[in-house]
Subunit: 150 residues, 2 copies
């Protein structure tokens, strides 16, 4: 289990540049696993606040499919998650990624409202989307690993 | 365990367009999990051949870090993997992804040589990189799930 003490940014072991790389990324890949260790990966929009990531289960175009909700079921079964922020380039000298690890849970009322505000600051697309009452995934980051051109 | 029978393309349940989306993608996110269900995600270059994905543990710039090899350890412990191919766009009507599931293992000699040929056809970057003897991850796809604008 994770300690409830908040980690300082520096304790995550990433540089200011790596933190900016994550904070400004528009999309990440959220890796979860069922209790039976079956992995699952979905793209997420997210916002970084101190050492916490927030992501909302929104109603993006098309449909909110059952498959898309597996992340929630996995998080209930197993709070360990991995979040990948990746930069691909045809110039492989410029490849870079940051892999974050953390513990996921659902944010409660007050924190969820704050997360929605932050998500709307970052993504103008969310400003015209009803988000109140939608599940907000909260990820307390426990480690950051960076690779490549920083 | 997976049956050794090969799935026909149509049995994976994806359209020609979704298959092309995956086949032409330059990068994907490989999700693995340890036996203890700890998830891990890394970006991979890969090639799609029939219903098999191949990816090489190469020596891209910088270093081949221990962290980067966790995918191999996880695959030995737990062959279940997920592969995400994602298209992000600021126009959220254009968002799309395909989530593939499969069983991973290491390719053996003859198959590994063929995989290297295919990877070099797809990625010119690999043509000037020594790959012989590098571990080749082989993923037999068992399902495809597509979401978004196809």
């Amino acid at each position: 289990m994770m300690s409830s003490r908040k980690l300082l940014a520096s304790e995550l072991g990433w540089s200011a540049e790596q933190r900016r790389f994550v904070g400004t990324a528009r999309v990440a890949s959220l890796g979860t696993a069922s209790a039976a260790a079956r992995p699952h990966v979905v793209p997420i929009c997210f916002v970084l606040s101190a050492n916490t990531l927030y992501s909302v289960i929104d109603s993006k175009p098309k449909r909110l499919a059952a498959e898309n909700l597996r992340r929630l079921r996995n998080i209930v079964e197993n709070s360990q998650v991995a979040v990948l922020v990746d930069r691909y380039s045809e110039d492989w000298e410029r490849l870079a990624y940051v892999l974050l690890r953390g513990r996921a849970s659902l944010a409660h009322a007050g924190e969820a409202r704050r997360a929605i505000r932050l998500l709307r600051q970052k993504y103008s697309q969310y400003r015209r989307m009803p988000l109140t009452g939608r599940p907000i995934i909260k990820i307390l980051l426990t480690s950051a690993y960076a690779w490549g051109a920083f």
